[in-house]
Symmetry: C2
Subunit: 290 residues, 2 copies
Amino acid sequence: MHTILRSATREVIIGIDRPFVMIGEKINPTGRKKLAAALSEGNLDYARQLAESQVAWGADVLDINVGVPGLDEVAVVKKLVEMLVSVVDVPFCLDSANPQVLAAGLAAAPGKPLVNSVSGEEKKLDTVLPLVKDRGAAVIGLTMDDNGIPKTPEERLSVAEKIIERAAKMGIPVEDIIIDPLVLTVGSDSKAALVTLQTVDLLRKEFGVNINLGASNVSFGLPDRPTVNQAFLTLAIQLGATCSITDPAKLGATVKAADMLLGRDDNSMRYLKYFRAAEKLRTAEAEKTV
Amino acid sequence: MHTILRSATREVIIGIDRPFVMIGEKINPTGRKKLAAALSEGNLDYARQLAESQVAWGADVLDINVGVPGLDEVAVVKKLVEMLVSVVDVPFCLDSANPQVLAAGLAAAPGKPLVNSVSGEEKKLDTVLPLVKDRGAAVIGLTMDDNGIPKTPEERLSVAEKIIERAAKMGIPVEDIIIDPLVLTVGSDSKAALVTLQTVDLLRKEFGVNINLGASNVSFGLPDRPTVNQAFLTLAIQLGATCSITDPAKLGATVKAADMLLGRDDNSMRYLKYFRAAEKLRTAEAEKTV
């Protein structure tokens, strides 16, 4: 099953038989004071830098979230998307809890964008799916509903099924739905990662849908988070995850290594290409700081 | 299925429901000139340092190989094992292509040691299995035979079956056989890692035996080898590998992270303990070099 996203000029295909897709996470002011301040001042320059840098580091898609308290997000997302179109040629993933912001972003984005996100919550289903349908977009569906995040893989599968069925009724095909089985922090629940991995496995076997994962939440509160995040993403890729909203500079090498080890990279071409590009970026950054 | 190894004082249990076991690889002069020179001079001090350091970094078992051209290996392995018994309390893994060296090491080692290795080669089966049986040891069985290393997972499984059957005929129980499905370099064969991973999966499902892997051969010739090795070991652990002959300082954190993410580390206790110990070792080493 292929989820196809498009920018004005480029097509990104997400699928189990394709290279793992990285969705750059950094254009999101949550926890990024510098970005929040810049957006509040109407300065889009820092967001532009983040976009360029993430694409250079291998982001195939860019998540765009402008959630800053007090900001006119509808106006800002429009301006930001229009600006970004001129500097990067990747598809966008519009990310907001506010349907009006999603609508504004979807209207401004070219090609076929992705929406982050719907869930099994009735209000979300009712407000987000029509936007997705009208725009002919794809959407990330989180496995949580009005009762919260289910504890077991089977229950999370049921939420995914509900999202897929509701979307189907509206005419949104299953290949345009990417399920995110959600991961809680393993530091507070020893089985948290396992439940998510088991959900990935079930989703792959039962529905064959594309699967997205945030790869950093799992390590919250633990030391040496990169090692935990890298291991988690590797485990999830083997079970069938096909994309991740993540920092490509931190997890790109692991993603390319996993693709290569799983036999999806003939002659290690993409692994080697990524390594060379990363070396150049590291050298350039080192020179900048000298 | 549990493979139990013993030192004079300590028991190490290898099994899918247990923490992943690391067998320290460094007491092996192949590619280690300093160790080769020390052993040739009859100096065991460097080997002692390697033993202590690897155990400090989390090695559960120590591989012992004294293969230096021209050396009286039978005499040296005896002296070395007798010395090491007084400094570390982990079980030993006797590693040699020479059955007489294995015999000498097995005679000197306390408890229940491991033998590295037998294979499906007739000569190996005939010479190594009797040593294992007589000593009541466990043994690593490599999935290669007189025709070399088979290309397909199914053929490698057949070699494993042959080893297990021949051992059974001699009275060596299957739980004392750890199968090593072998990994070639992914840099020269894009499907090399995949074939090994598929063999791990088959071995786990068909035989339920313990499975060992060398985790560094896979990345030979590639840049950023640690990232590839870490990803490979993580993939293999998820499919059922239960031990690895490796450098615990390089792969220990990944192993503990994988155990934790797979739900085998209540309250992240072992992960946190390992991190704290590693931090102390890094601090001590940094102070030494100042």
